[in-house]
């Protein structure tokens, strides 16, 4: 469990948050630039000192301004990955990795060199110097360097923002492995919905120094009262489990959490029971009064209408749906809403045109 209460003021900016975050998995601090996400992270690391602050990670208090407690940054068991990898230019890759490692007493080391270099695919780069690495390689070294301090909390400040799309897609699988294989809780600062949808289990939405929402990713992305639902790529993230595979048509069936409902996606075979994360965008969901009828649409789910909100233009509305506990969003025209007489509590069929597998 991570607790943070921070109050801090700069000319033209004030941060005021009070958050309780899960002590496991990836928590995304999501918001536009200037929303205070990086400041939150720097306060947790002790690189910045909030005027009024309380920071507790698991059972360790790192700051308690009321009792004049402020643990120096180098005494906090955290790993920090900066936006630019910030490798030490005077040290080789190996020496960069060892910089943190050798400052950790042996009994406290839980991540070893072989594991970290293998996990991030940098074993072949150890003799190189940082200026001979690509941006993506540098960032992977930066992540491994932070992991090697065996942190109790990993802070990542937009680690992909400085990279082009190709480098991003090169690193994302490593971050997903990190998420799957290590027990270290991660706070991940990002302004990219795509990264958040892929990596985060929990999301904190920040705006102008305040936390608008904090909750599990699936529920929070589907909330209509948040600006998240407004954008063109509004949608929900569903963490399904593999239930079957149709080898003939190469379609994978995914069971929605705590339901008997399934969706099917084109995919290579996976073991039953394996978790797979998908994104369903609001604009890819249409509504119909009947479940039957021939159509090329693969996925149709019985849903209940929960609520409705105006979209960012007058022609569309956003409908929040419930598929046996799994929230869904549909972006339909106002005309269609009136034709179907969509209203809360109504039973409808959601037709899902596309499901993006996030892996």
């Amino acid at each position: 469990m991570i607790q943070m209460r921070l109050k801090l003021r700069y000319p033209g900016f004030a941060l005021d948050v009070d958050l309780q975050l899960p002590g496991r998995g990836v928590t995304a601090l999501y918001g536009h630039s200037g929303s205070g996400k990086t400041t939150c992270l720097r306060c947790i690391a002790g690189l910045e000192r909030a005027d009024h602050g309380f920071i507790q990670v698991n059972d360790e208090v790192w700051q308690d301004s009321e009792n004049k407690v402020f643990v120096a940054p180098h005494k906090r068991a955290l790993g920090y990955v900066f936006q630019e990898a910030s490798l030490f230019p005077h040290l080789s890759v190996l020496a960069n990795l060892e910089f943190g490692l050798k400052r950790i007493p042996k009994p406290q080391r839980r991540v070893d060199m072989a594991h970290a270099t293998e996990l991030l695919g940098i074993s072949h780069l150890l003799d190189r110097h940082p200026h001979n690495l690509s941006g993506g390689e540098r960032q992977r070294v930066g992540i491994a360097r932070a992991l090697l301090t065996s942190p109790k909390l990993l802070l990542m400040d937009e680690p992909l923002a400085a990279l082009d799309a190709q480098r991003k897609s090169e690193i994302l699988p490593y971050l997903q492995r990190l998420h799957d294989e290590l027990e270290i809780p991660v706070l991940y600062v990002s302004h990219s919905q795509d990264e958040v949808a892929r990596l985060a289990d929990h999301i904190v939405l920040l705006s102008n120094g305040k936390a608008l929402a904090s909750g599990p990713i699936g529920q929070t992305l589907a909330r209509l009262d948040l600006p998240l639902a407004m954008g063109d790529d509004a949608g929900v993230v569903i963490e399904g489990r593999v239930s079957a595979y149709d080898a003939d048509y190469q379609l994978l069936s995914l069971q929605l959490p705590d339901t008997t409902l399934n969706i099917r996606v084109p995919h290579t075979p996976l073991d039953p029971g394996q978790a797979l994360r998908c994104k369903v965008q609001a604009r890819d969901v249409s509504l119909s009064l009947h479940g039957a009828g021939q159509s090329s649409i693969l996925n149709r789910l019985p849903v209940t209408v929960v609520s409705e909100m105006n979209a960012d233009n007058a022609a569309h509305v956003l409908i929040r749906l419930d598929a046996a506990g799994t929230p869904l969003l549909a972006r339909i025209t106002r005309y269609s809403r009136d034709q179907l007489n969509v209203h809360p509590g109504q039973q409808l069929w959601a037709q899902i045109k596309a499901v993006a597998v996030l892996a």
Binding site: A45, G46, L47, A72, P73, H74, K75, L78, G79, Y80, F82, E84, S86, F88, P89, H90, F99, G100, R103, I104, H129, H131, R145, A146, T149
Partner: protein, 226 residues
């Protein structure tokens, strides 16, 4: 060989003075340079200006004030006398003090520039990798500032070797105690010993050129870390 034993002792004294001054300046100048590079205090301007004063003041002015301060009626002079050290004017120790002040900007400014150029990010990275501030200074700041440290060392040394006015004001011209090369050359010229002056002056010229050549060549190749 045309250098007299007096010339040799002047050269030896000069090298001794310049080496000692450089070592003291690196030790004293580093914290000053670090402070100037990092502080947001209003004192930054005044302190920076004081450090830079020797760049613009005539050496005789610095020498004059030092003579007063170190002399029997000056503050420092009274202190040294009460400690039983006598006065420092016209002594080697006095020359070292004068040289440290006189060459200060040539050591502090390159160091300050080097520390500023590093910025705060590497220090933050080191802290998140569990390095305490001292550890960070020796394992990150100093190695990254290496080109600046080299420049500061060379300039501090060379500038002290070239000192004349301050030495003459507070050290006078005592053989083997305060008579450095530049003063020795002055003496030769005063005594119309132009041949002797030529040898020493030529040696200084070659030395200075060699130092600057080393400095500018190293700057070219060691800029950055490529």
């Amino acid at each position: 060989m045309s250098l007299s034993s007096a010339d040799y002792s002047a050269i030896w004294l000069t090298l001794k003075l310049a080496s000692l001054t450089t070592v003291i300046l690196l030790i004293v100048g580093t914290p000053i340079a670090l402070w100037l590079a990092r502080t947001r205090s209003w004192l930054r301007g005044p302190v920076g200006a004081i450090v830079a004063l020797p760049l613009v003041l005539p050496p005789t002015v610095i020498g004059f004030y030092l003579l007063l301060a170190l002399g029997p009626y000056g503050l420092v002079g009274q202190l040294t006398q009460s400690l039983g050290l006598g006065t420092l004017t016209f002594s080697f120790a006095g020359l070292v003090i004068g040289s440290v002040l006189y060459s200060m900007p040539f050591v502090v400014q390159p160091l300050q520039n080097a520390f500023s150029a590093i910025g705060t990010r590497p220090l933050e990275v080191a802290a998140t990798l569990r390095a305490n501030p001292w550890d960070t200074f020796f394992s990150v700041t100093l190695p990254l500032a290496r080109p600046g440290v080299i420049t500061a060392t060379i300039l501090g040394f060379a500038h002290t070797v070239g000192e004349f006015g301050v030495v003459l004001m507070i050290g006078g011209n005592i053989p083997e105690k305060t008579r450095v090369v530049s003063v020795q050359i002055y003496d030769h010229v005063e005594a119309m010993e132009y041949a002797q002056a030529h040898w020493l002056a030529g040696a200084m010229l070659v030395f200075s050129f060699a130092v600057l050549l080393a400095l500018y060549s190293s700057r070219k190749t060691k800029a950055g870390w490529s």
